[in-house]
Protein backbone atom coordinates (compact mmCIF):
# COMPACT_ATOMS: atom_id res chain seq x y z
CA UNK A 1 0.00 0.00 0.00
CA UNK A 2 1.09 3.48 -0.60
CA UNK A 3 2.58 5.35 2.29
CA UNK A 4 0.28 8.22 1.48
CA UNK A 5 -2.65 5.94 1.91
CA UNK A 6 -1.40 4.93 5.31
CA UNK A 7 -1.59 8.48 6.51
CA UNK A 8 -5.15 9.51 7.29
CA UNK A 9 -4.51 13.08 6.34
CA UNK A 10 -2.36 12.07 3.40
CA UNK A 11 -1.38 15.64 2.82
CA UNK A 12 2.38 15.55 3.40
CA UNK A 13 4.20 12.46 2.17
CA UNK A 14 7.72 11.75 3.46
CA UNK A 15 10.55 11.91 0.94
CA UNK A 16 11.04 8.16 1.17
CA UNK A 17 8.15 6.05 2.40
CA UNK A 18 7.76 2.33 2.91
CA UNK A 19 6.80 1.88 -0.74
CA UNK A 20 9.96 3.61 -1.99
CA UNK A 21 12.11 1.68 0.45
CA UNK A 22 10.51 -1.60 -0.61
CA UNK A 23 11.26 -0.84 -4.25
CA UNK A 24 14.89 0.10 -3.50
CA UNK A 25 15.55 -3.00 -1.38
CA UNK A 26 13.65 -5.40 -3.66
CA UNK A 27 15.18 -4.13 -6.89
CA UNK A 28 18.61 -3.93 -5.22
CA UNK A 29 18.46 -7.58 -4.15
CA UNK A 30 17.40 -8.62 -7.65
CA UNK A 31 20.21 -6.64 -9.30
CA UNK A 32 22.78 -8.25 -6.99
CA UNK A 33 21.34 -11.67 -7.81
CA UNK A 34 21.43 -10.98 -11.56
CA UNK A 35 25.14 -10.09 -11.46
CA UNK A 36 25.74 -13.86 -11.34
CA UNK A 37 24.52 -14.07 -14.97
CA UNK A 38 27.63 -12.26 -16.12
CA UNK A 39 30.06 -12.42 -13.21
CA UNK A 40 30.54 -13.45 -9.59
CA UNK A 41 27.80 -14.89 -7.42
CA UNK A 42 27.12 -12.07 -4.96
CA UNK A 43 24.14 -13.48 -3.06
CA UNK A 44 24.86 -17.19 -2.85
CA UNK A 45 25.67 -16.87 0.87
CA UNK A 46 21.98 -16.37 1.75
CA UNK A 47 20.73 -18.95 4.22
CA UNK A 48 18.24 -21.62 3.23
CA UNK A 49 16.70 -24.38 5.33
CA UNK A 50 16.07 -27.96 4.20
CA UNK A 51 13.59 -30.33 5.78
CA UNK A 52 15.57 -31.94 8.61
CA UNK A 53 15.79 -34.58 11.24
CA UNK A 54 19.37 -33.71 12.19
CA UNK A 55 19.39 -29.99 13.07
CA UNK A 56 23.10 -29.72 12.30
CA UNK A 57 22.34 -30.44 8.64
CA UNK A 58 19.32 -28.18 8.26
CA UNK A 59 20.90 -24.85 7.36
CA UNK A 60 23.14 -24.04 4.45
CA UNK A 61 24.08 -21.41 1.88
CA UNK A 62 21.78 -21.27 -1.15
CA UNK A 63 24.73 -21.58 -3.56
CA UNK A 64 27.38 -24.30 -3.55
CA UNK A 65 29.96 -21.58 -4.16
CA UNK A 66 29.49 -20.56 -0.53
CA UNK A 67 29.16 -24.07 0.93
CA UNK A 68 32.29 -23.42 3.00
CA UNK A 69 30.36 -20.92 5.11
CA UNK A 70 28.32 -23.70 6.66
CA UNK A 71 24.78 -23.23 7.95
CA UNK A 72 25.71 -20.99 10.88
CA UNK A 73 27.92 -18.81 8.69
CA UNK A 74 25.18 -18.40 6.07
CA UNK A 75 22.65 -17.54 8.77
CA UNK A 76 24.98 -14.97 10.32
CA UNK A 77 25.77 -13.44 6.92
CA UNK A 78 22.08 -13.20 6.05
CA UNK A 79 21.24 -11.60 9.40
CA UNK A 80 24.04 -9.04 9.16
CA UNK A 81 23.13 -8.13 5.57
CA UNK A 82 19.46 -7.67 6.43
CA UNK A 83 20.31 -5.73 9.58
CA UNK A 84 22.57 -3.31 7.71
CA UNK A 85 20.23 -2.78 4.74
CA UNK A 86 17.04 -2.47 6.77
CA UNK A 87 18.65 -0.26 9.42
CA UNK A 88 19.78 2.11 6.68
CA UNK A 89 16.28 1.92 5.20
CA UNK A 90 14.40 2.72 8.39
CA UNK A 91 16.89 5.53 9.07
CA UNK A 92 15.76 7.02 5.77
CA UNK A 93 12.17 6.63 6.97
CA UNK A 94 13.05 8.67 10.03
CA UNK A 95 12.90 5.82 12.55
CA UNK A 96 15.21 5.32 15.53
CA UNK A 97 17.98 3.07 14.14
CA UNK A 98 19.34 1.73 17.44
CA UNK A 99 15.89 0.65 18.65
CA UNK A 100 15.18 -0.90 15.27
CA UNK A 101 18.48 -2.79 15.18
CA UNK A 102 17.98 -4.27 18.65
CA UNK A 103 14.33 -5.19 18.00
CA UNK A 104 15.10 -6.53 14.52
CA UNK A 105 17.77 -8.83 15.94
CA UNK A 106 15.19 -10.41 18.26
CA UNK A 107 12.54 -10.49 15.53
CA UNK A 108 14.92 -12.18 13.10
CA UNK A 109 16.02 -14.77 15.66
CA UNK A 110 12.46 -15.70 16.68
CA UNK A 111 11.07 -15.61 13.13
CA UNK A 112 13.87 -17.70 11.63
CA UNK A 113 13.76 -20.11 14.56
CA UNK A 114 10.04 -20.57 13.78
CA UNK A 115 10.92 -21.32 10.16
CA UNK A 116 13.56 -23.77 11.35
CA UNK A 117 11.01 -25.58 13.54
CA UNK A 118 8.57 -25.60 10.61
CA UNK A 119 11.17 -27.43 8.51
CA UNK A 120 11.46 -30.29 11.03
CA UNK A 121 10.48 -33.50 9.24
CA UNK A 122 7.77 -34.22 11.82
CA UNK A 123 6.13 -30.92 10.80
CA UNK A 124 7.04 -30.66 7.13
CA UNK A 125 7.23 -34.12 5.52
CA UNK A 126 4.21 -34.56 3.27
CA UNK A 127 4.17 -37.82 1.39
CA UNK A 128 4.80 -41.35 2.70
CA UNK A 129 7.92 -41.31 0.53
CA UNK A 130 9.13 -38.17 2.34
CA UNK A 131 8.39 -39.76 5.71
CA UNK A 132 10.35 -42.86 4.71
CA UNK A 133 13.21 -40.70 3.40
CA UNK A 134 13.49 -38.86 6.71
CA UNK A 135 12.80 -41.93 8.84
CA UNK A 136 9.69 -40.54 10.56
CA UNK A 137 6.55 -42.57 11.12
CA UNK A 138 4.18 -39.59 11.17
CA UNK A 139 4.18 -35.88 10.38
CA UNK A 140 1.86 -32.88 10.40
CA UNK A 141 2.27 -32.68 6.60
CA UNK A 142 2.43 -28.89 6.63
CA UNK A 143 5.26 -28.78 4.04
CA UNK A 144 8.37 -26.78 4.90
CA UNK A 145 6.24 -23.63 4.47
CA UNK A 146 4.43 -24.68 7.63
CA UNK A 147 7.17 -22.53 9.17
CA UNK A 148 5.04 -19.52 8.22
CA UNK A 149 2.23 -20.85 10.41
CA UNK A 150 4.69 -21.48 13.24
CA UNK A 151 5.97 -17.88 12.94
CA UNK A 152 2.40 -16.55 12.95
CA UNK A 153 1.44 -18.57 16.02
CA UNK A 154 4.58 -17.52 17.91
CA UNK A 155 3.73 -13.89 17.06
CA UNK A 156 0.15 -14.38 18.26
CA UNK A 157 1.38 -15.86 21.54
CA UNK A 158 3.65 -12.86 22.08
CA UNK A 159 0.89 -10.36 21.24
CA UNK A 160 -1.71 -11.95 23.47
CA UNK A 161 0.31 -13.47 26.34
CA UNK A 162 3.32 -11.13 26.48
CA UNK A 163 2.00 -7.78 25.20
CA UNK A 164 4.82 -5.78 26.81
CA UNK A 165 7.39 -7.84 24.93
CA UNK A 166 5.34 -7.29 21.75
CA UNK A 167 5.41 -3.53 22.37
CA UNK A 168 9.16 -3.66 22.90
CA UNK A 169 9.56 -5.29 19.46
CA UNK A 170 7.32 -2.81 17.66
CA UNK A 171 10.09 -0.81 15.97
CA UNK A 172 10.92 -3.91 13.87
CA UNK A 173 7.33 -5.11 13.49
CA UNK A 174 6.76 -3.80 9.97
CA UNK A 175 4.62 -6.32 8.06
CA UNK A 176 3.71 -3.85 5.31
CA UNK A 177 7.37 -3.08 4.57
CA UNK A 178 8.41 -6.74 4.62
CA UNK A 179 5.58 -7.91 2.36
CA UNK A 180 6.11 -5.06 -0.11
CA UNK A 181 9.79 -6.03 -0.47
CA UNK A 182 8.68 -9.65 -0.93
CA UNK A 183 6.14 -8.65 -3.59
CA UNK A 184 8.76 -6.64 -5.51
CA UNK A 185 11.03 -9.71 -5.47
CA UNK A 186 8.10 -11.88 -6.46
CA UNK A 187 7.81 -9.99 -9.77
CA UNK A 188 10.97 -11.60 -11.17
CA UNK A 189 10.05 -15.03 -9.83
CA UNK A 190 6.61 -14.85 -11.45
CA UNK A 191 8.18 -13.65 -14.72
CA UNK A 192 10.55 -16.60 -14.89
CA UNK A 193 7.65 -18.95 -14.09
CA UNK A 194 5.39 -17.31 -16.68
CA UNK A 195 8.00 -17.15 -19.45
CA UNK A 196 7.68 -20.88 -20.05
CA UNK A 197 3.94 -20.63 -20.71
CA UNK A 198 3.27 -17.10 -21.92
CA UNK A 199 -0.19 -17.81 -23.38
CA UNK A 200 -1.39 -19.29 -20.13
CA UNK A 201 0.17 -16.46 -18.13
CA UNK A 202 -1.46 -13.73 -20.22
CA UNK A 203 -4.84 -15.50 -20.05
CA UNK A 204 -4.57 -15.66 -16.26
CA UNK A 205 -3.65 -11.98 -16.15
CA UNK A 206 -6.84 -11.06 -18.03
CA UNK A 207 -8.91 -13.03 -15.53
CA UNK A 208 -7.48 -10.86 -12.78
CA UNK A 209 -9.67 -8.02 -14.06
CA UNK A 210 -12.69 -9.80 -12.60
CA UNK A 211 -11.15 -9.37 -9.16
CA UNK A 212 -11.13 -5.58 -9.51
CA UNK A 213 -14.79 -5.51 -10.50
CA UNK A 214 -15.71 -7.82 -7.67
CA UNK A 215 -13.82 -6.00 -4.91
CA UNK A 216 -14.76 -2.42 -5.77
CA UNK A 217 -18.16 -2.65 -7.36
CA UNK A 218 -19.79 -5.70 -5.77
CA UNK A 219 -18.19 -6.21 -2.35
CA UNK A 220 -17.94 -2.55 -1.41
CA UNK A 221 -21.54 -1.70 -2.31
CA UNK A 222 -22.96 -4.70 -0.46
CA UNK A 223 -20.85 -4.25 2.69
CA UNK A 224 -21.60 -0.52 2.79
CA UNK A 225 -25.31 -1.28 2.49
CA UNK A 226 -25.13 -3.92 5.26
CA UNK A 227 -23.23 -1.57 7.57
CA UNK A 228 -25.56 1.36 6.95
CA UNK A 229 -28.95 -0.32 6.66
CA UNK A 230 -28.74 -3.45 8.83
CA UNK A 231 -26.31 -2.29 11.51
CA UNK A 232 -27.16 1.44 11.48
CA UNK A 233 -23.59 2.72 11.18
CA UNK A 234 -22.95 6.33 10.24
CA UNK A 235 -21.37 7.10 6.87
CA UNK A 236 -18.10 7.95 8.61
CA UNK A 237 -17.86 4.41 9.98
CA UNK A 238 -19.53 2.51 7.14
CA UNK A 239 -17.26 3.69 4.30
CA UNK A 240 -13.87 2.73 5.86
CA UNK A 241 -15.43 -0.50 7.11
CA UNK A 242 -16.69 -1.36 3.62
CA UNK A 243 -13.26 -0.66 2.15
CA UNK A 244 -11.52 -2.70 4.86
CA UNK A 245 -13.69 -5.75 4.26
CA UNK A 246 -13.87 -5.41 0.48
CA UNK A 247 -10.63 -4.11 -0.93
CA UNK A 248 -7.30 -4.68 0.71
CA UNK A 249 -7.73 -4.19 4.38
CA UNK A 250 -5.72 -1.71 6.36
CA UNK A 251 -4.55 0.60 3.59
CA UNK A 252 -7.96 0.70 1.92
CA UNK A 253 -9.67 1.56 5.21
CA UNK A 254 -7.18 4.33 5.89
CA UNK A 255 -7.28 5.67 2.32
CA UNK A 256 -11.08 5.77 2.48
CA UNK A 257 -10.99 7.46 5.89
CA UNK A 258 -8.78 10.15 4.40
CA UNK A 259 -10.95 10.47 1.31
CA UNK A 260 -14.19 11.05 3.21
CA UNK A 261 -12.40 13.22 5.82
CA UNK A 262 -13.22 10.81 8.67
CA UNK A 263 -11.60 11.33 12.06
CA UNK A 264 -8.28 9.44 12.14
CA UNK A 265 -9.45 7.10 14.93
CA UNK A 266 -12.18 5.64 12.71
CA UNK A 267 -10.00 3.94 10.06
CA UNK A 268 -7.43 3.00 12.70
CA UNK A 269 -10.04 1.10 14.73
CA UNK A 270 -11.35 -0.53 11.55
CA UNK A 271 -7.78 -1.49 10.63
CA UNK A 272 -7.24 -3.26 13.94
CA UNK A 273 -10.22 -5.46 13.10
CA UNK A 274 -8.92 -6.08 9.59
CA UNK A 275 -5.66 -7.48 10.96
CA UNK A 276 -7.41 -9.74 13.47
CA UNK A 277 -9.75 -11.20 10.87
CA UNK A 278 -6.95 -11.56 8.30
CA UNK A 279 -5.07 -13.73 10.77
CA UNK A 280 -8.15 -15.87 11.37
CA UNK A 281 -8.44 -16.29 7.59
CA UNK A 282 -4.75 -17.21 7.21
CA UNK A 283 -5.15 -19.90 9.84
CA UNK A 284 -8.28 -21.39 8.25
CA UNK A 285 -8.62 -20.75 4.51
CA UNK A 286 -5.41 -22.42 3.19
CA UNK A 287 -6.44 -25.67 4.90
CA UNK A 288 -9.99 -25.39 3.54
CA UNK A 289 -8.49 -24.79 0.09
CA UNK A 290 -6.31 -27.87 0.44
CA UNK A 291 -9.25 -29.98 1.59
CA UNK A 292 -11.89 -28.87 -0.89
CA UNK A 293 -10.11 -27.20 -3.81
CA UNK A 294 -6.99 -29.28 -4.38
CA UNK A 295 -8.41 -30.48 -7.71
CA UNK A 296 -8.74 -26.83 -8.79
CA UNK A 297 -5.42 -25.23 -7.76
CA UNK A 298 -5.93 -21.92 -9.57
CA UNK A 299 -9.47 -21.51 -8.21
CA UNK A 300 -7.95 -21.93 -4.75
CA UNK A 301 -5.23 -19.39 -5.52
CA UNK A 302 -7.63 -16.75 -6.86
CA UNK A 303 -10.01 -17.36 -3.97
CA UNK A 304 -7.27 -16.68 -1.41
CA UNK A 305 -6.39 -13.44 -3.22
CA UNK A 306 -10.03 -12.33 -3.14
CA UNK A 307 -10.93 -13.49 0.36
CA UNK A 308 -7.93 -12.69 2.56
CA UNK A 309 -7.57 -9.01 3.39
CA UNK A 310 -4.31 -7.03 3.62
CA UNK A 311 -1.50 -7.66 1.18
CA UNK A 312 0.73 -9.37 3.69
CA UNK A 313 -1.83 -11.89 4.83
CA UNK A 314 -3.18 -12.55 1.33
CA UNK A 315 0.10 -13.15 -0.48
CA UNK A 316 1.51 -15.07 2.46
CA UNK A 317 -1.63 -17.20 2.65
CA UNK A 318 -1.22 -17.76 -1.10
CA UNK A 319 2.24 -19.18 -0.43
CA UNK A 320 0.92 -21.59 2.21
CA UNK A 321 -2.02 -22.59 0.04
CA UNK A 322 0.28 -23.34 -2.88
CA UNK A 323 2.53 -25.56 -0.80
CA UNK A 324 -0.41 -27.39 0.80
CA UNK A 325 -2.26 -27.95 -2.47
CA UNK A 326 0.87 -28.95 -4.38
CA UNK A 327 1.82 -31.34 -1.57
CA UNK A 328 -1.60 -33.00 -1.71
CA UNK A 329 -1.37 -33.26 -5.50
CA UNK A 330 2.14 -34.71 -5.21
CA UNK A 331 0.84 -37.34 -2.78
CA UNK A 332 -1.65 -38.30 -5.51
CA UNK A 333 1.12 -38.49 -8.10
CA UNK A 334 0.48 -35.11 -9.78
CA UNK A 335 3.51 -32.80 -9.88
CA UNK A 336 2.41 -29.24 -10.65
CA UNK A 337 5.03 -26.59 -11.35
CA UNK A 338 5.43 -24.38 -8.29
CA UNK A 339 4.91 -20.65 -8.64
CA UNK A 340 1.71 -20.57 -10.69
CA UNK A 341 -0.68 -20.52 -7.76
CA UNK A 342 1.30 -17.87 -5.97
CA UNK A 343 1.38 -15.87 -9.22
CA UNK A 344 -2.42 -15.95 -9.45
CA UNK A 345 -2.91 -14.92 -5.81
CA UNK A 346 -0.41 -12.08 -6.18
CA UNK A 347 -1.87 -10.90 -9.49
CA UNK A 348 -5.37 -10.76 -8.03
CA UNK A 349 -4.11 -8.81 -5.00
CA UNK A 350 -1.94 -6.39 -6.98
CA UNK A 351 -4.76 -5.76 -9.49
CA UNK A 352 -7.07 -4.84 -6.61
CA UNK A 353 -4.41 -2.64 -4.97
CA UNK A 354 -3.75 -0.43 -7.95
CA UNK A 355 -7.26 0.98 -8.01
CA UNK A 356 -7.32 2.15 -4.40
CA UNK A 357 -6.36 5.66 -5.48
CA UNK A 358 -9.11 5.82 -8.09
CA UNK A 359 -11.70 4.54 -5.63
CA UNK A 360 -10.57 6.96 -2.92
CA UNK A 361 -10.90 9.81 -5.42
CA UNK A 362 -14.43 8.72 -6.40
CA UNK A 363 -15.47 8.58 -2.75
CA UNK A 364 -13.77 11.89 -2.00
CA UNK A 365 -15.59 13.50 -4.93
CA UNK A 366 -18.99 12.17 -3.79
CA UNK A 367 -18.43 13.09 -0.14
CA UNK A 368 -17.11 16.61 -0.75
CA UNK A 369 -19.66 17.49 -3.42
CA UNK A 370 -22.81 15.68 -2.27
CA UNK A 371 -22.60 14.50 1.34
CA UNK A 372 -20.38 16.80 3.40
CA UNK A 373 -20.84 19.91 1.29
CA UNK A 374 -19.14 22.87 2.96
CA UNK A 375 -18.46 26.08 1.09
CA UNK A 376 -14.93 26.42 2.45
CA UNK A 377 -13.99 22.73 2.42
CA UNK A 378 -11.28 21.42 0.14
CA UNK A 379 -12.69 19.51 -2.85
CA UNK A 380 -11.28 16.21 -4.10
CA UNK A 381 -8.47 16.60 -6.60
CA UNK A 382 -7.40 14.11 -9.29
CA UNK A 383 -3.85 14.34 -7.88
CA UNK A 384 -5.12 12.20 -4.95
CA UNK A 385 -5.19 9.23 -7.35
CA UNK A 386 -1.41 9.38 -7.72
CA UNK A 387 -0.89 10.29 -4.06
CA UNK A 388 -2.67 7.10 -3.03
CA UNK A 389 -1.27 4.87 -5.77
CA UNK A 390 0.67 1.98 -4.18
CA UNK A 391 4.12 2.83 -5.55
CA UNK A 392 5.63 -0.55 -4.65
CA UNK A 393 3.52 -1.97 -7.47
CA UNK A 394 5.90 -0.14 -9.82
CA UNK A 395 8.76 -2.16 -8.33
CA UNK A 396 6.78 -5.36 -8.87
CA UNK A 397 6.16 -4.41 -12.51
CA UNK A 398 9.83 -3.46 -13.01
CA UNK A 399 11.18 -6.78 -11.69
CA UNK A 400 8.52 -8.67 -13.64
CA UNK A 401 9.45 -6.93 -16.91
CA UNK A 402 13.19 -7.36 -16.28
CA UNK A 403 12.76 -11.05 -15.44
CA UNK A 404 10.53 -11.65 -18.45
CA UNK A 405 12.91 -9.87 -20.84
CA UNK A 406 15.88 -11.90 -19.59
CA UNK A 407 13.93 -15.16 -19.69
CA UNK A 408 12.69 -14.55 -23.24
CA UNK A 409 16.23 -13.45 -24.17
CA UNK A 410 17.45 -16.95 -23.41
CA UNK A 411 19.14 -16.45 -20.03
CA UNK A 412 17.90 -19.96 -19.13
CA UNK A 413 19.08 -21.98 -16.11
CA UNK A 414 21.50 -19.28 -14.94
CA UNK A 415 18.57 -16.86 -14.68
CA UNK A 416 16.52 -19.42 -12.78
CA UNK A 417 19.42 -19.86 -10.33
CA UNK A 418 19.88 -16.11 -9.92
CA UNK A 419 16.17 -15.50 -9.35
CA UNK A 420 16.18 -18.47 -6.99
CA UNK A 421 18.78 -16.68 -4.86
CA UNK A 422 16.63 -13.53 -4.80
CA UNK A 423 13.68 -15.76 -3.95
CA UNK A 424 15.53 -16.95 -0.84
CA UNK A 425 15.22 -13.40 0.45
CA UNK A 426 11.57 -13.32 -0.58
CA UNK A 427 10.98 -16.32 1.68
CA UNK A 428 12.77 -14.60 4.57
CA UNK A 429 10.64 -11.48 4.13
CA UNK A 430 7.53 -13.71 4.12
CA UNK A 431 8.66 -15.21 7.44
CA UNK A 432 9.19 -11.73 8.90
CA UNK A 433 5.73 -10.73 7.61
CA UNK A 434 3.98 -13.67 9.23
CA UNK A 435 5.70 -13.12 12.57
CA UNK A 436 4.98 -9.38 12.45
CA UNK A 437 1.29 -9.91 11.64
CA UNK A 438 1.05 -12.24 14.62
CA UNK A 439 2.67 -9.71 16.95
CA UNK A 440 0.23 -7.02 15.79
CA UNK A 441 -2.83 -9.19 16.36
CA UNK A 442 -4.37 -8.57 19.74
CA UNK A 443 -7.46 -10.76 19.98
CA UNK A 444 -8.54 -8.93 23.14
CA UNK A 445 -9.61 -6.05 20.91
CA UNK A 446 -12.55 -8.15 19.77
CA UNK A 447 -13.84 -8.13 23.34
CA UNK A 448 -13.40 -4.40 23.68
CA UNK A 449 -16.77 -2.94 24.38
CA UNK A 450 -18.16 -1.04 21.39
CA UNK A 451 -15.96 -2.82 18.88
CA UNK A 452 -18.24 -5.85 18.95
CA UNK A 453 -20.73 -4.23 16.59
CA UNK A 454 -17.99 -3.41 14.09
CA UNK A 455 -16.70 -6.96 14.42
CA UNK A 456 -20.24 -8.24 13.78
CA UNK A 457 -20.45 -6.36 10.45
CA UNK A 458 -17.03 -7.66 9.52
CA UNK A 459 -17.94 -11.20 10.49
CA UNK A 460 -21.27 -11.17 8.65
CA UNK A 461 -19.79 -9.59 5.53
CA UNK A 462 -16.60 -11.62 5.38
CA UNK A 463 -17.86 -15.07 6.25
CA UNK A 464 -21.43 -14.61 5.03
CA UNK A 465 -20.71 -12.95 1.72
CA UNK A 466 -17.15 -12.04 0.70
CA UNK A 467 -15.53 -15.47 0.81
CA UNK A 468 -18.48 -17.19 -0.89
CA UNK A 469 -18.85 -14.67 -3.70
CA UNK A 470 -15.07 -14.79 -4.07
CA UNK A 471 -15.29 -18.55 -4.41
CA UNK A 472 -18.04 -18.34 -7.05
CA UNK A 473 -16.15 -15.75 -9.11
CA UNK A 474 -12.89 -17.69 -8.80
CA UNK A 475 -14.66 -20.83 -9.91
CA UNK A 476 -16.32 -19.02 -12.80
CA UNK A 477 -13.04 -17.74 -14.20
CA UNK A 478 -10.45 -20.34 -13.17
CA UNK A 479 -12.26 -23.70 -12.96
CA UNK A 480 -10.64 -26.38 -15.09
CA UNK A 481 -7.40 -24.45 -15.52
CA UNK A 482 -4.43 -26.25 -14.03
CA UNK A 483 -0.83 -25.15 -13.52
CA UNK A 484 1.60 -26.78 -15.97
CA UNK A 485 3.09 -30.08 -14.86
CA UNK A 486 6.76 -30.44 -13.96
CA UNK A 487 8.91 -31.68 -16.80
Amino acid sequence: MTEAALSPSASVAPRLGEDGLAVIVGVGVLILALVSLYGPDLLGWAVTTSVWTDPAKALGAVSKVYAGLGGAGALAATYVALLVVLSAGVAALGAEVKSFAVAFTVVFVIAYASWFVGSWAYVAAVTPADQAKFGVSWSLRLTNEGGYIVALIVGLVIANAFPRFGDWLKEAIRPELYIKIAIVLLGAFIAVTAAGKLTLASSLLLRGVAAIVEAYLIYWAVVYFIARKWFGFSREWAAPLASGVSICGVAAAIATGGAIRARPQVPVLVSSLVVVFAVVEVLILPFLAQTFLSSQPLVAAAWIGLAVKTDGAAVAAGGITESLVLAKAAAEGIAYQPGWMLAVTTTVKVFIDIFIGVWAFILAYIWTNHINVKPDSEKAKPSEIWARFPKFVLGFVATFVAGLALALGGAGPKLAAAVGEANTFRVIFFILTFFSIGVLTDFRKLWREGLGKLAAVYLVSLFGFVIWVGLIISWLFFAGVKPPLVG
Partner: protein, 49 residues
Protein backbone atom coordinates in the same frame (compact mmCIF):
# COMPACT_ATOMS: atom_id res chain seq x y z
CA UNK B 1 -11.34 7.44 21.58
CA UNK B 2 -12.35 5.87 24.89
CA UNK B 3 -14.48 2.73 25.11
CA UNK B 4 -17.40 4.72 26.49
CA UNK B 5 -17.23 7.29 23.68
CA UNK B 6 -17.00 4.52 21.11
CA UNK B 7 -19.95 2.64 22.62
CA UNK B 8 -22.05 5.81 22.81
CA UNK B 9 -21.20 6.81 19.24
CA UNK B 10 -21.99 3.41 17.79
CA UNK B 11 -25.37 3.41 19.56
CA UNK B 12 -26.49 6.75 18.11
CA UNK B 13 -29.61 6.68 15.89
CA UNK B 14 -28.90 5.63 12.33
CA UNK B 15 -28.54 8.26 9.63
CA UNK B 16 -30.97 7.51 6.78
CA UNK B 17 -29.47 6.57 3.42
CA UNK B 18 -29.23 9.68 1.23
CA UNK B 19 -30.28 9.49 -2.43
CA UNK B 20 -26.62 9.86 -3.46
CA UNK B 21 -25.67 6.85 -1.32
CA UNK B 22 -28.48 4.81 -2.88
CA UNK B 23 -27.19 5.87 -6.29
CA UNK B 24 -23.62 4.89 -5.36
CA UNK B 25 -24.72 1.44 -4.16
CA UNK B 26 -27.09 0.89 -7.09
CA UNK B 27 -24.71 2.02 -9.80
CA UNK B 28 -21.79 0.09 -8.30
CA UNK B 29 -23.75 -3.12 -8.17
CA UNK B 30 -25.30 -2.57 -11.59
CA UNK B 31 -22.02 -1.81 -13.34
CA UNK B 32 -20.29 -4.59 -11.40
CA UNK B 33 -22.81 -7.25 -12.39
CA UNK B 34 -22.82 -6.13 -16.04
CA UNK B 35 -19.00 -6.17 -16.19
CA UNK B 36 -18.82 -9.59 -14.55
CA UNK B 37 -21.33 -10.99 -17.03
CA UNK B 38 -19.31 -9.44 -19.87
CA UNK B 39 -16.09 -10.94 -18.53
CA UNK B 40 -17.79 -14.31 -18.07
CA UNK B 41 -18.94 -14.20 -21.70
CA UNK B 42 -15.41 -13.33 -22.85
CA UNK B 43 -14.09 -16.13 -20.64
CA UNK B 44 -16.55 -18.53 -22.26
CA UNK B 45 -15.66 -17.66 -25.83
CA UNK B 46 -11.93 -17.16 -25.20
CA UNK B 47 -11.11 -19.97 -22.76
CA UNK B 48 -7.70 -20.18 -21.15
CA UNK B 49 -5.49 -22.26 -23.41
Amino acid sequence: MSEQELRKELKEPAEPLLPIEKKLIGWSLGIGVVLLVLLAVINHFLPIS
